[in-house]
Symmetry: C2
Subunit: 147 residues, 2 copies
């Protein structure tokens, strides 16, 4: 998979994006990087959104998650209005540094989704009776390993 | 946030994309939907990739994760060569059905990343001594809740 190994500005000689300890987040053509947020206790995925450089910088500096709202074209501090801020425990990046993983604790009511659900991922895909697949609502948080 | 509520083909009268039990995955302009994969036991995020409609359909039908490789422009059964297949425990979608979350078990060597790491997210962002942030390699799997 040598096509994945590429030079990025800031890499040392012979260093790859996979090995480096330099943080060189790769923003897409739209200036955004996808960010996954999971709950620090349950491990559930809470939400998925995008960050621009400012959102990522503010998230790391403040310890609270910021995103870029694509629908409203503005920086967005998650939970600023509701009080359900995302307190960041850890920020990770992946092998080619084009995705961010935030391990967080939800403050306020513990609600991460605009629908009022604990997590945005409150429905699972199951086989329907006649046609293909349907969605089933799941209770959240759900203990992991009991799928 | 009424701008998030929208009509999608297949929704019933007065039904929103957030409430429906119809599975109506929303693929982007490129025909792809982002997919997050977490480990069924540890809750760690293992990888992040994209699915086209065929990859999603095959994932649900076969119980093993398929993706669309953007770099190679082809369907890709994860682990087909290495034996590290992703056995799917659960498929979820989010409030507006434009993201997929796969809860999976890694077969073979239990390796999800092309680098040989258990997860692609093997580095966390930490404060450096002089300049801004650097990456620190973390041991994986890491027990959750001990951030």
């Amino acid at each position: 998979m040598s096509d994945i190994i590429r030079k990025a500005p800031g890499l040392g000689d012979g260093e790859t994006i996979e090995q480096t300890q330099s943080f060189l987040p790769k923003f897409g053509a739209n200036g955004l990087i996808p960010a996954i947020v999971t709950d620090h206790k349950s491990g559930n995925v809470l939400m998925f959104a995008h960050m621009n450089e400012e959102a990522l910088r503010k998230t790391i500096a403040s310890g609270f998650a910021y995103f870029w709202s694509r629908s409203r074209s503005k920086l967005w501090k998650k939970g600023e209005e509701s009080g359900n801020l995302l307190k960041v425990n850890e920020v990770r990046t992946d092998c080619d540094q084009d995705v961010i993983w935030i391990i967080a604790e939800v403050e306020g009511d513990g609600v991460a989704c605009h629908t009022g659900a604990t997590s945005c991922f409150y429905r699972r895909v199951v086989q329907g009776r006649e046609d293909g697949t349907v969605l089933e609502h799941v209770a959240l948080p759900r203990p992991l390993g009991h799928g």
